[in-house]
């Protein structure tokens, strides 16, 4: 326990380190995101992430949203385990044909009104994979999409900006 405390003490609060340009922008986007979530979603935006065929690159960056640098929960963004608890679906990948029905069912299980955010170039337009015998391409070919976040994969900051765009004013 002593060693843990020592390490935690020595590490300090990483988000309060002198902000670099990147971090300053992150804070600005985050604070605006929190303001809108407070106004429109009663302080908490619940997101269900669905990988519909990605190469797992997008997942790594979505995970990074939860690391101590970004720590999106402080802005009111939560990733939830069930679509039934979600306000928004964050969908990655070109939708593989084998995931087509699973994605539609997940979408139907999400209570309305719901947002669908396509994250990553593949989700936006099919990316490197496009439309083939095995891939439906963009997410909007399978379910209605509200907002697209391009990038291969989008960085955590780009994902946050996309969330901001998804919520609107």
């Amino acid at each position: 326990m002593y060693r843990i405390l020592k390490q935690a003490f020595r590490t300090g609060v990483v988000t309060e380190a002198p902000p670099r340009l990147d971090d300053a922008e992150l804070e600005a986007v985050g604070v605006e995101l929190r303001r809108r979530i407070e106004a429109r979603f009663n302080r908490s935006l619940a997101i269900r992430q669905v990988d519909a065929g990605s190469c797992n690159g997008c997942e790594l960056e979505i995970h990074a949203l939860n690391n101590p640098y970004h720590d999106v929960e402080r802005f009111g963004v939560h990733f939830v385990a069930s679509p039934r608890h979600a306000d928004a679906l964050l969908v990655t990948g070109p939708v593989s044909r084998h995931m087509q029905t699973a994605l539609r069912r997940t979408w139907r299980a999400t209570p309305a009104p719901k947002l669908v955010i396509a994250a990553g170039t593949c989700a936006c337009d099919g990316g490197e994979f496009g439309v083939t015998y095995a891939s439906c391409g963009a997410v909007e070919n399978v379910i209605p999409v509200d907002v697209k976040i391009p990038g291969c994969p989008p960085t955590p900051l780009e994902l946050l900006r996309g969330l901001l765009a998804a919520i609107g004013d």
């Binding site: 990988d51 997942e59 690391n67 970004h70 044909r97 490197e128 083939t132 095995a134 960085t155």
Partner: protein, 528 residues
């Protein structure tokens, strides 16, 4: 170095079995040796290899006109051997290697689903990669199958897959997925349990099958490297490197030494980033969030540096045919060195805590044991094999430059449990840090890329790279006009997934997430 000392023994044993072998010309799949056999000897040749103790490293088919050339790769003492045979498309029947090599199971079923090759004596002839996107009897990798497919309607759910049933008093079944409860790739797990104990786990993957092998057909080398970099996003450097290596071997491209050093720099950075992420996540799965937060912070900093220096947080598209896309500026060397020193200093107390913490020991020691015999039988490589006593590492045992001069330290543990896999990963982080410093020290000057010579039609190449999960094997064949005609990337996860089914035996259901995370197979890497 005297290589292939064992090959004469293998050939002698084949002769005893009356298997007729034609040695293929040696260069086409170098560094692997190539042996051409008759189709009827396929099964026996595999059996002889198994008796000799060769590791089975993959099988793939290559349609050529009215026939399919089938190749299987074997490894023994760091030497690679490719067995090759042909079967007519009209009557594609081959003996299975699965009875002698359990790791061959899913790759053979993949081949059966995509090319329509029937494997005799296969203990499990159920479909694998094929769900409902194309009908039975249609084979997407055959030349007559259009890349757009023939049935553009909605693919129904794969509901009638015949899972193995376990029945008995008190036995119940837990279906999980394909959409999982976390931020994770899709796949289906079917547990049979009694009380808390897992009696059986069956995996059903193939959900993220995107048709990568078919999509590669007709691409130029640069476009193939981009596609290979997306076989599995967390292994983007390693897969792109393996694909480029295969193309460079096929075209006899002399990659500049500086480019090779930078590729190794990228690959070790990728290894460290992934291990940091996983070590934290494994600890978090047993409620030790402290490690997740600390490792997450270190990983993020590492990724930011990658973006700053090389333009991408995951280093996607950094490896290109003939070299690398971005140079390392001279003034970046000092901060990079400082980074390495920083990380070394930071992980020391952190790994010490993870290595010796009662609440972690309680959950990780003795959990999810992969017996060394199982690891060997399945052909596990990487940290999974190394935690179960198998020290194989392509970088050391069949070194490709720059690892021929910079031999990495390869940590090995024998216990095979989750704790051993964590220890191996921590040791690999330290070893890669040492390697990174040596790479910077010996960084040669010169170009960062050479033009890829025009490929001859029919030229083939084999890429063999130690990814962060283990050995990646990539086969490439060029067609006319420098276009790719066949691309097959074999991720180490093909053997990690069956290992997970075995190591979960006798564990409790709530320990599955931590067992799964410690193995961390790639879904995308095997669904293809």
């Amino acid at each position: 170095m005297s290589r292939f000392d064992w090959l004469s023994e293998y050939l002698a044993r084949l002769e005893d079995e009356h298997v007729i072998v034609r040695a293929g010309e040696a260069r086409s799949l170098a560094p692997a040796h190539r042996l051409v056999l008759d189709a009827e000897d396929w099964g026996r040749a595999g059996g002889v290899a198994a008796a000799l103790g060769c590791r089975w490293a993959g099988v793939w088919g290559d349609p050529r006109g009215e026939a399919v050339v089938v190749r299987a790769c074997l490894e023994y003492q760091g030497d690679y051997l490719v067995l090759e045979t042909g079967v007519p498309l009209s009557h594609p029947i081959l003996a299975s290697h699965t009875p002698r090599y359990p790791g061959a199971d899913r790759l053979e079923r993949h081949l059966q689903d995509l090319l329509g090759i029937a494997f005799l004596d296969h203990p499990d002839s159920r479909r694998w990669t094929r769900h409902q996107a194309w009908p039975e009897g249609d084979y997407p990798l055959r030349p007559d199958f259009p890349v757009a497919g023939r049935t553009p309607g909605r693919a129904p759910a794969d509901t009638d897959y015949p899972f193995v049933r376990v029945q008995g008093s008190g036995v119940y079944e837990i279906p999980v997925g394909p959409v999982h409860a976390g931020i994770i790739e899709p796949g289906h797990f079917r547990f049979q349990a009694a009380g808390e104990d897992v009696l059986r786990l069956e995996e059903r993957l193939g959900y993220v099958h995107k048709g990568i092998e078919k999509l590669a057909v007709g691409r130029d080398p640069a476009a193939l490297a981009r596609l290979a970099g997306r076989v599995s996003g967390d292994s983007t450097v390693a897969h792109a490197w393996a694909a480029c290596q295969a193309m460079e071997r096929a075209t006899e491209c002399a990659v500049p030494a500086r480019a090779l050093h930078l590729r190794a720099l990228f690959a070790e950075r990728e290894r460290i980033a992934n291990h940091l992420g996983d070590i934290g996540a494994i600890c978090n799965d047993v409620g030790f969030a402290f490690a997740l937060v600390q490792c997450g912070r270190l990983r993020e900093r590492w990724q930011r540096r990658s973006r700053e220096l090389f333009g991408h947080r995951l280093l996607m598209d950094a490896v290109v045919p003939g070299g690398v896309a971005r140079d390392l500026p001279r003034e970046a060397i000092a901060p990079l060195r400082a980074d390495h020193a920083d990380l070394r200093r930071e992980v020391a107390p952190l790994f010490e805590i993870i290595d010796d913490h009662p609440s972690l020991d309680d959950r990780l020691l003795g959990t999810g044991i992969l017996a060394p015999a199982d690891a060997r039988a399945l052909g596990c490589t990487g940290y999974l094999g190394r935690a179960s006593g198998l020290g194989f590492d392509v970088r050391r045992d069949n070194p490709y430059p720059p690892y021929d001069r910079l031999v990495p330290e390869v940590p090995v543990q024998g216990e095979g449990d989750v704790a051993a896999r964590v220890r191996v990963r921590m040791a690999e982080v330290r070893a890669s840090l040492a390697l990174l410093d040596r790479l910077l020290e010996g960084l040669p000057g010169g170009d960062i890329a050479a033009p890829l010579p025009a490929p001859a039609a029919g030229a083939t190449g084999l890429g063999l790279v130690e990814g962060w999960r283990g050995e990646i094997l990539t086969f490439v064949r060029f067609g006319e006009g420098g276009r790719i005609e066949r691309f097959f990337p074999r991720d180490p996860s093909w053997f990690a997934w069956p290992a997970l089914e075995r190591l979960i035996h006798g564990n409790i259901v709530p320990d599955f997430p931590v067992c799964n995370k410690s193995v961390n197979g790639s879904y995308s890497g095997v669904d293809l």
